[in-house]
């Protein structure tokens, strides 16, 4: 005490400061200080929650509104691309011949996940055509390899002799069939994602609402 100098001399307030010798062990003040400090720390920690919470990435929780897509002017074999939640969504009208090829046993053997076991689509799209109606394919057009947008190559043959028609990624050569199923030997590990959607009429679909009562959302997809 005395080493800190004359201004700290407790003589002047001897009547209000308890003598050091009276302190219990451990001193009551140390206990109170620790208790106060701990309370303040817990409070500050709790108070930091709304600040950190507000920095959560936008779009989680499927806050974006649904988007209706008019299909009446899409001809067989044509694909349109709509942007939903900032992502390109392929809507493709598959011809009966293309559907035939998609069911072929020869193609099945070349696919990595022909039966859609990986969670890349809602339950109602885990079928051979990976969609609600076989004619209409709906996929998020983002390659599961490194995020490029695959090109649409529907004509059979093409560059490769046994090409059944599908998608080819310009970045690293990943290939998918017209149901978005990935070919073996592609760098992409998984099928193209299928977003939640619902057919509200035979020529109209709504992105962002499920065809069943489920709560499937983009966040549930294994890799987007």
């Amino acid at each position: 005490m005395s080493a800190t100098g004359p201004s700290d001399d407790p003589e002047g307030r001897a009547s209000i400061l308890p003598a050091a010798a009276d302190q219990p062990d451990p001193p009551r003040r140390d206990f109170l200080t620790l208790l106060t400090g701990a309370t303040v720390l817990v409070g500050a920690g709790a108070f930091s929650w709304p600040f950190l919470d507000s920095l959560r990435p936008e779009g989680s929780g499927d806050a974006a509104p649904p988007l209706d897509v008019d299909l009446s002017r899409v001809v067989p074999g044509q694909q349109i691309v709509v942007v939903w939640r900032g992502k390109p969504v392929f809507v493709v009208r598959r011809t009966p011949e293309a559907l035939q090829r998609m069911r072929g046993a020869a193609l099945r053997q070349k696919l990595r996940d022909p039966d859609s076991h990986a969670l890349q689509q809602p339950a109602y799209a885990a079928n051979w055509h990976r969609s609600v109606a076989p004619e209409w394919g709906v996929m998020v057009g983002i390659c599961t390899h490194l995020g490029c947008v695959p090109g649409y190559a529907p004509a059979p043959g093409g560059g490769a002799p046994d090409w059944p028609g599908g998608y080819a990624c310009p970045c690293h050569g990943s290939r998918f069939d017209l149901a978005g199923r990935v070919f073996q030997g592609s760098p992409a590990p998984l099928n193209l994602p299928v977003p939640p959607y619902r057919m509200i009429a035979s020529d109209r679909l709504r992105l962002g609402e499920n065809n069943d009562s489920g709560s499937f959302g983009l966040d549930d997809i294994q890799q987007l």
């Binding site: 080493a3 800190t4 100098g5 201004s7 600040f51 507000s54 959560r56």
Partner: protein, 444 residues
Amino acid sequence: MAGPRHDDVSGSDRPPPPGANEQSAAEAPVGPLSYGRFGGPPTSDLPPGAPPLAHWIDARLPVLSYLRREYVEYPTPRNLNHLWNFGAFITVTLVLMILTGLFLALNYEPSVAGAFASVEAIDRQLPSGWLLRSIHMAGATLFFAALYVHIFRSLYYGSYKRPRELLWLTGMLLMFMVMATAFFGYVLPWGQMSFWGASVIVSAVSAVPLLGHALAALLQGGAILGDVAIHRFFVLHFLLGFAIAGVVGLHVLALHVTGSNNPAGIEARGPGDTLPFHPYYTSKDGLGLVVFLLIYAALVFFAPGWLTEADNYLPADPAVTPAEIRPEWYFSPFFAILRAVPSRSGGVLLAGLSVLLLCLMPWLDRSPVRSARYRPVYRPMVIVLAMAFLTLLAAGLHPPNGIWLLLSRIAAGCWFGFFVLLPFVHRIETPRTLPGQLAVADPA
């Protein structure tokens, strides 16, 4: 300066620093102000019991000993009452305002097309955004409430008097800055009250003699109150928040030069009159803060809409003025003066003067006695001043007719009368006998 300086623990067995080669240590200029400058040994102001790392840091950057001197040992009058908590309340509110303001600014869009929608999105879509905005809005109210009590405390106990004139003036500057910040912030949501409040203020500014029109044009930045104005207001709001934090630093610095005034208004004369700031006033401020934050939390969680106008949740419409334009309660007293005067420039002038006169307090009040406790004439006067303020506040929230117009005129008369009479009070006033020391003035 509490106690001797201590050599840096590691300094004694080290070679002299480079640059000191030409001069031996004995010849190095070592004085009380050298602070180890130009090759002197690094010294620390901390007591010898402090950890070696603390000594090492303090010898090079004496923040620790500064904090210890100003916020631990700092001698504080022993008789401060709870009115002395309000400075701490304001500081804490300012920190909360800057924090929430930063996070709101991350999500705000300063444009006519986007402002209203972005504020709605903060309330409805941003995770915890409603809470951040609620804290920011309730903070504005509590900031002013605490500020007005803080100012009244200074008026009542004569804290503005010599040698604390600059402390008072930095405080007045802060009040003006806080008012400007609150106004700019209120405009940002771009609702009906925001827009029409801004229109009224810009017109009022243009009514100021001489500079008015130029200043109003500068604020508005275009033919109409639009994108340019919103952007300017946003930047000014953001900038002023931090500028206030800086001036608060000066205000506290000035306070620590003279030390706090106290309810008796006489200077502390010795160790018997003061207590170390820690733990006595840290705990007293802490207790006050707990109560203050409880009220704050009650406003945020239970009454987030209580202090806002429903009209401000309608998007700004330059074609329709809301039926009843009311300022926020904290501007209401000045708004009441503005309306009480039946002249455009006269009202603006008197409303401005009503605040500016406060700045002259250290020179208008010529009595050597500080505390109203010992001043039989000044005490009722300052109480009337406070009541006039509250009456103007209430009058400003009511339509300007009938009893409220009359009351606002009487109260405005009392407000200005106070400042007119003040320079003559010391001639007729016989102060009560001042106590010799604080222990006698306010026994524990």
